[in-house]
């Protein structure tokens, strides 16, 4: 029996959700071309989901090493705050972007240092920055919501390139680049090996600590760039709300996408689909008029559903049902 592709269930979940929407509202799938731009709900989902996708990309590697990064939401806020302050101060866009990326790299390095070198539990290590990071972001913007006025900056989140929205293009390109960087080199193998059996990896001559640290640094960089997109999207740095609960969405996306929380094998494509699944659900609930306060409930149900489908136990049970029916 050929093993099922790891993205089978997330793709099925996404398809079912899209179908549900299409039945409810025929216009859901409609994509139109207006004034040289693509418009439509699917395009919105891609644009709005790009930030979670980006954060989840970094999270995939961290989870594959057997860790987790809870600080990504706060890093999003920090990066946004850095952008706002620099742009307000009249600095160039290039410097601003470099500084935001640098903030992400720095945050990731702190996490990497704590986890890989000092051996702090990943949850505890990244919880530190999760809590302290938001305070730091507040400090940078002095507790204010800073409005950003920069067309170039705004273009990153809301612009169009040849009619296609820029943000998903950027994130898509990063996914493809990451995939090749991991699979064409041995980096992907090393990350999976560290997550699968760290001691054995070390005993085989691998610098396991360095590989783990790399995952956190990469994750920080992704969160930094996501912070740029988040600030550009609302044209403001909101240190209090930016990236709120994003760590949870990212972890959901990774796990729903087929990467085990215990570490080891990772599925980059699965993460992208997982992130889109979550964004589609958010959009669906918005379309159906579900009040935001109870929106997390259906989200939780979906995640439970997909996770159950991925469990071997449930799979065997379902398989048994099918066989019984076929036999009857």
């Amino acid at each position: 029996m050929k093993a099922k592709s790891p993205v089978f269930w997330p793709v099925l979940g996404l398809a079912a959700l899209v179908l549900l929407n299409a039945v409810h509202d025929v216009g859901f799938l409609k994509i139109s071309f207006l004034e040289g731009h693509l418009y439509g709900v699917p395009v919105d989902i891609l644009t709005q989901g790009s930030r979670t996708m980006l954060v989840a990309l970094g999270m995939t590697l961290v989870i594959a090493t057997g860790g987790v990064d809870l600080s990504v939401g706060s890093v999003v806020a920090i990066a946004g705050a850095v952008c706002a302050v620099l742009l307000q101060g009249g600095h160039s866009l290039a410097l601003t972007l470099a500084a935001a990326l640098g903030a992400g790299l720095l945050a990731g390095s702190v996490n990497g240092l704590l986890v890989a070198r000092l051996g702090v539990q990943p949850i505890v290590a990244t919880l530190i920055l999760m809590v302290a990071g938001r305070g730091l972001a507040q400090l940078i913007v002095d507790g204010q919501v800073i409005i950003i006025k920069s067309t170039g900056f705004e273009f990153l989140a809301n612009g169009f390139l040849l009619g296609v929205p820029v943000a998903p293009l950027l994130v898509g390109a990063l996914y493809v680049a990451t995939h090749f960087a991991l699979r064409r080199t041995a980096l992907g193998l090393f990350i999976e090996a560290v997550g699968d059996n760290e001691t054995a990896s070390r005993f085989a001559g691998l610098a396991a600590a360095r590989i783990k640290a790399f995952a956190y640094v990469f994750c920080g960089a992704c969160a930094g760039l996501a912070g740029v997109l988040a600030a550009a999207n609302i044209r403001a740095a909101d240190a209090y709300r930016a990236g709120e609960n994003m760590e949870l969405d990212a972890i959901f996306a990774v796990v729903v996408g087929g990467t085990a929380l215990a570490g080891g094998r990772f599925v980059i494509l699965g993460t992208a689909i997982g992130a889109l699944l979550i964004q589609t659900l958010t959009t669906t609930m918005y379309n159906l008029g579900v009040p935001p306060a109870i929106a997390p409930v259906p989200k939780a149900l979906l995640i439970i559903g997909v996770s159950l489908l991925q469990s071997d136990k449930v799979g065997r049970w379902l398989g048994g049902l099918v066989v019984k029916k076929a036999g009857a």
Binding site: A193, D196, N197, S201, R202, R265
Partner: protein, 500 residues
């Protein structure tokens, strides 16, 4: 004697494999019965059927004449079938008493009766005549002691049949003797004992009868005294074995003139091993002998940079070298097969291919990735050369038998083309056929000019394979024997500290 346990016509299939077909198995009360066979013979499956882990597809089980059908380990336990598994299945952070009574603690309304818990634990240990503080944390005890606790736990229920699944794999000789004394006492009490082991010496030392399985079928049931060792091995392998199979060619004498490839001077670490001098020449197999806990593995770990030495120095091909981490050691040209395959060797969920190329890829670094073709060539070469049994190179390594996993790990190191290879218990827990193949491989590596440091608990194996043996006792190097003086008796005396 009464038949305590009777299994008739047991069959069990898993998707794609027939694990057992028409197997009969009988154990009498008051006997120790060995269950033997190579890996994949069906021993584990038979035990699992018996203990209710996997229900049998066909056949019947009778215990004391009564038809039983255990559907879960707990049920089997209640019927009087208790099992001690190869790896101690206890909770290291709990006390001895808690471990013995875990899951069946006396108490009321969710409150534990600590006095009763301790009393029961003491009684269970007293039955084995084992002295042990029941309040000690289990993890602080030696593996042998933990094993005794596991047996005490198994007997805490009113067991009639005790299944010991490779209980001696990590015990030294003295501890094995202790275990055997316990087994004989229980036998005298009228218990039936099923004893699964890879050590033939132990079969002859302690069992009354034995059953041999091969490829999921029954080969036969014999009285231990009626079957010679050679006949037994023949039954297990399914072919007649000549005595020549077990005596390797004359072990090449070390080339004294050659420069040592690896030399350690005064290498030591407090609490692990007193300073050791050690030289390895190309083309020789040097044994590291000693009982469990004598410092063999500790010495290997210092050489390979897993633990930091606090004294001494290492020279590699005459030049001072630093071995601060396995990474540096691998780059020098060292390789180390750990004794703990599961925890320190395999990457369980990754494929045979990924496991096999892993050390070489690690040596090359992340950027110089081996191409798919190069990887396929390496796999093809080693799967054939070492006769690794696997469906294909993409199978997760955890699906392979212990012996084949070990071969993949050997291939992992050979692919790095090392100058020195340290093998820590390379034949532990694997079947005779694979064992012989690994011994042949060691001889071949030696002839190819590698320096091999060979660690084993089996004295005969050390004598067979090594041209020189360094003996460790109580965490210090106590002697060296080579050439004509090297024989089991002398080695045993040196290990025990009774020579001269």
């Amino acid at each position: 004697m009464a038949e305590l346990l009777e299994l008739r016509g047991i069959g069990k299939s898993f998707p794609g494999v027939t694990a057992l077909a028409g197997v009969d198995f009988t154990v009498r009360a008051g006997e120790i019965h060995a269950l033997l066979g190579e890996n994949g013979a069906g021993k584990s499956t038979l035990i699992k059927v018996l203990t209710g882990v996997h229900p049998a597809d066909t056949g019947e089980i009778r215990l004391g004449g009564q038809l039983i059908r255990p559907a879960a380990p707990k049920e089997a336990e209640q019927l009087g079938i208790s099992t001690v598994y190869q790896e101690v299945n206890l909770v290291p952070s709990l006390s001895v008493a808690e471990n013995i009574t875990l899951g069946r603690q006396p108490g009321r309304f969710g409150f534990l009766n600590w006095r009763a818990i301790r009393r029961r634990a003491r009684a269970a240990l007293a039955r084995l005549e084992v002295e042990c503080d029941v309040d000690a944390e289990l993890g602080s005890l030696s593996v042998a002691r933990q094993q005794m606790v596991a047996i005490a736990r198994a007997l805490d229920t009113s067991a009639r049949l005790l299944v010991l699944d490779e209980p001696t794999a990590s015990l030294d000789e003295k501890e094995v003797a202790e275990l055997f004394a316990v087994m004989r006492r229980l036998k005298a009490d009228g218990l039936g004992i099923v004893f699964v082991t890879h050590f033939l010496d132990q079969v002859y030392a302690v069992t009354d009868r034995l059953t041999v399985l091969r490829n999921g079928r029954l080969v036969g049931e014999y009285a231990t005294a009626d079957l010679s060792r050679l006949q037994l091995v023949g039954r297990m392998l399914g072919r007649e074995v000549s005595a020549a199979d077990f005596t390797p060619g004359a072990v090449a004498a070390p080339v004294a003139a050659a420069q040592p490839v690896l030399a350690a001077r005064g290498l030591g670490r407090r609490g692990a091993i007193a300073p050791v001098d050690l030289t390895l020449h190309p083309g020789e197999v040097v044994g590291l002998g000693g009982l469990l806990g004598s410092g063999r593995t500790e010495t290997a770990r210092l050489l390979f940079g897993i633990d930091a030495a606090d004294s001494g120095s290492i020279t590699f091909r005459g030049a001072p070298a630093s071995c601060g981490s396995p990474r540096e050691a691998v780059r020098l040209g060292l390789a180390f097969c750990s004794e703990d395959r599961k925890a320190e060797g395999i990457l369980p969920n990754l494929s045979v291919r990924e496991n096999l190329v892993f050390a070489l890829q690690g040596k090359r670094g992340a950027w110089r990735a081996l191409s798919r073709t190069e990887q396929a060539q390496l796999c093809e070469h080693y799967i054939k050369a070492l006769r690794i049994k696997t469906a294909d190179a993409e199978t997760p390594i955890r699906n392979l038998s212990g012996g084949n996993q070990q071969k993949v790990l050997l291939a992992r190191w050979l692919a790095t083309q090392p100058a020195v290879i340290i093998l820590d218990e390379p034949t532990r827990g694997i079947d005779i056929g694979a064992k012989q193949e690994i011994e042949q491989l060691i001889a071949k590596l030696r002839d190819d000019g590698l320096a091999v440091l060979f660690i084993s608990s089996e004295i005969d194996e050390v004598v067979r394979n090594c041209s020189r043996v360094l003996v460790l006792r109580e965490r210090r190097l106590t002697g060296e024997v080579a050439g004509a003086e090297l024989n089991s008796e002398r080695l045993m005396h040196m290990m025990a500290g009774t020579h001269e």
